[in-house]
């Protein structure tokens, strides 16, 4: 039976193995390739998407677990935190190879949505699950602070 879910505000029906990780469902079956495969074990964060707003490793999340939920991928990222993060990423030239950056941006935007003025310790806690082999970490940290500076504090 097809699994019904919402991806980037579009209703979708996926007739796939319910155990298929959400990652491969959205990449192979919805052709949304911005979300990346890095490890398959929730160790690197390259596959991070939002499910009902929560940052989630799609490589270990069965697509059936997203049934009836709202999934946001990098292609559908919107809202003030998401936009601020992407602008800061471009403004500080964070990416190098760029492969992990969709996941970094999804984690960072979830952090700023929940906590508009994160400390360095907050950034460490929220971002240490996202690996970057180019080690763009210094710029990721700076870009999160820059994005935070551009957002109003949560009332």
């Amino acid at each position: 039976m097809a699994i019904k879910l919402t991806v980037n505000n579009q209703p979708q029906e996926l007739d796939v193995d319910p155990q298929m990780p959400l990652l491969w469902a959205i990449r192979d079956h919805l052709q949304l390739t911005g979300t990346k495969f890095g490890c398959g074990m929730a160790l690197c964060g390259a596959c991070t998407v939002h499910i009902d707003g929560q940052p989630t490793r799609s490589c270990v999340t069965p697509v059936s677990a997203a049934a009836g939920k709202s999934v946001t991928t990098i292609e559908g990222l919107s809202g003030p935190a998401g936009k601020a993060v992407q602008e800061a990423w471009v403004g500080l030239d964070v990416p190098q190879c760029g492969y992990c950056q969709s996941g970094q941006i999804m984690s960072a935007s979830a952090l700023l949505t929940a906590n508009p003025k994160p400390t360095d310790a907050d950034i460490d806690a929220a971002m240490s699950g996202n690996i970057c082999r180019c080690a763009t970490y210094a710029r990721i940290r700076a870009a999160i602070h820059k994005a935070a500076d551009s957002l109003p504090a949560k009332s």
Binding site: D17, D28, Q31, K36, G40, Q86, C97, I131, A135
Partner: protein, 758 residues
Amino acid sequence: MHLPNIEDSLASWPPLARLVRNLSRRDFLKFTTIAGSGLTLGVVVPAVAKNGGLTVLGIEGTPGDYSTPFVRIDTDNTVTVICKHVEAGQGVWTGLPAVVAEELDASWSQMRAESSPAQVPTYGNFAFGPKGNVQGTGGSTSMANSWDQLRHAGAFARAMLVQAAANNWKVPAAEITVSEGVVAHSSGKKATFGELAAAAGKLPIPKDVKLKDPSQFKLIGTEKRLPRLDSHSKSTGTQTFAIDVMLPDMMTAMVLRPPRFGAKVQSIDPAAAKAVPGVVAVVQIPRGVAVVARDTWSAKKGREALQVVWDESGAEKRGTDALFKEYRQISGGADAVKVEQKGDAAGAFQKAAKVLDFEFEFPYLAHAPMEPLTAAAKLSPGKCEIWAGCQFQTIDQANAAQAAGLRPDQVTIYTLAAGGTFGRRANPESDYIVEAVSIAKAMGTPNPVKLIWTREDDITGGRYRPATYHHVKAGLSQDGKLVAVEQHVVNQSIMAGTPFAGMMKDGVDPTSVEGGTSEQYEVENAHVTWTQAKVGVPILWWRSVGHTHTAFVKEVVADELAAAAGQDPVAYRLSLLEEHPRSAAVLKLAAEKAGWDKPFPTGKAGNGSFRGRGVAVHESFGTVVAHIVEVTVTDGSVKVDRVVTAVDCGIAVTPDVVRAQMQSGIGYGLSAALYGKISLTDGRVDQSNFHQYRVLRINEMPRVIEIHIVPSTNAPSGVGEPGTPPIAPAVANAIRAATGIKLRKLPFDLAAAKAMKT
């Protein structure tokens, strides 16, 4: 990697020999233009003179074909730089366009970058040899190799746009100015490049152009921000990597490879794999058994279900403990070949006041780029197309051709952005590309095939930085002067048995010993040997290659010699660098910026922590980098608090990219220093994914990194690799300053090192 003049050895290598064409004459700075439908101006550097006329290599007999320029100016006013080097994060899609934009006086906003086709010598890497017979990216050569070509390309294009404007406006070309992409005359006439491109494309080629003097540069080397041209696509998920390639009727494949290196397929039972929904075929290929499916998940499940019996009779069954034991035994022994012999090392050691002895061990390391190896291949009659983050385009082309049973010129390479490589995608057998082609061929259907390596495939799949052993003896005179060095290196050869074997000189693989102590520090008496270990574990160049271990040895030894001589580590190094003024200048700059002359609270810092400061300087790939680091050691764990870096890379074309590469080299090197290790037990790799092959995370990145670029008017050298070699020894030296612990093995294990007598 270190690849001086690889062409002659490559030209005799069968798959490539068919590719290398006989060129009667290569005329480096002559140009040709081809006006594609009269709309664009193409500039080709170098063009190849044939029979006295100008043609463009690779498109003989097809006038109007427009596949091989270096710069394309379209009527929509964009200027596209066709990059022969892969963009793998190191910033060539920004640095190379900056070179063109400078000489062209373009506006940065009109610049674009795209990958060139695989084609030599047009897109050959002249840092690999003067004939340009190999296209590839490595040895931090991209900028150095493209610098002169692209400056000329920009300057010629500018001259032709100016001439087109002069003709249109009936004014002398000398009265025309170009600035920010606008061609103008004092009469008030103005035109964009796009408006002039069609006319410019019809003009004859100027005989010569004058390049700017570096003092006239408006973009290059300035702190004017040149935003990366790929930041937007890489911040929005729209950059296409090989793993993102989706072609009609494409299948996805995974390969089951032997559990030990060198094992072969004995028998296959495909039934369970074929029973997995979505699996369409199980095919044997030379490197293993492939499961081909309609999507990635099916391929993965099919591979898990696949039953293969392996013949392990010829497999490598030794573990790394046994290997290091063997390396110690053969070091400097009967099979050792001479690397350097100068003065009288034996005599100098006898007269030395002090002799220090060091042994070092470095493990195998996986590159672990974030995008695992991936390639898409499509076979059709007489044709093969490859989509991948190719790092060795024409070698990949030749290997793919051999696998497909075609000629290299029947193979089209689409070089995509690579999701990191660090050397992994530059391998002489093009392993992952050949796998993709072999699967497509074995299928015997027109379906394109996308091969995906999982992270486990990547970590266990070999092609590692060679495990390496060093034994060093250093002799000091009464006043602490370094008088003799003996250094014995043992590891597998990256080049032996590959197309690169011809680059080995007198039996020595330069990538095993480059950056050694007696090469970079002055010492009158030296005896250096290398012993080639014969192990069945596939190896490869890993970001900075031999320097990954030689720099550690050299800089840890230098620090302990300074201590033995009772001298300051920076001052002691400077005394050994009198004939290496660039290294000395870089070291001095780092020391000054770090405040080295100011007291640093070394040792116990309260809360059971210890603090220390350490230094290292190293030259690699024509670039000198010094790092001064401050660390805190708590319960055996190391936190790098601050790094002060100085770098001399010649003209820093795009300084922000240089800074990014220094940050990147530091982070990559720290991963190896603190965690990186591939070990084998009975020939099986012990690690499989990032939980066992740990890499640096954001909370472990030094919070303060200050990068200082030495002003220079020398032609640029590279920055992709040189930041890596000196970081691990700088941290080791800081740890010794903090705790007295001498580190002799990587990754650092402070408790083990403390227990070990050195």
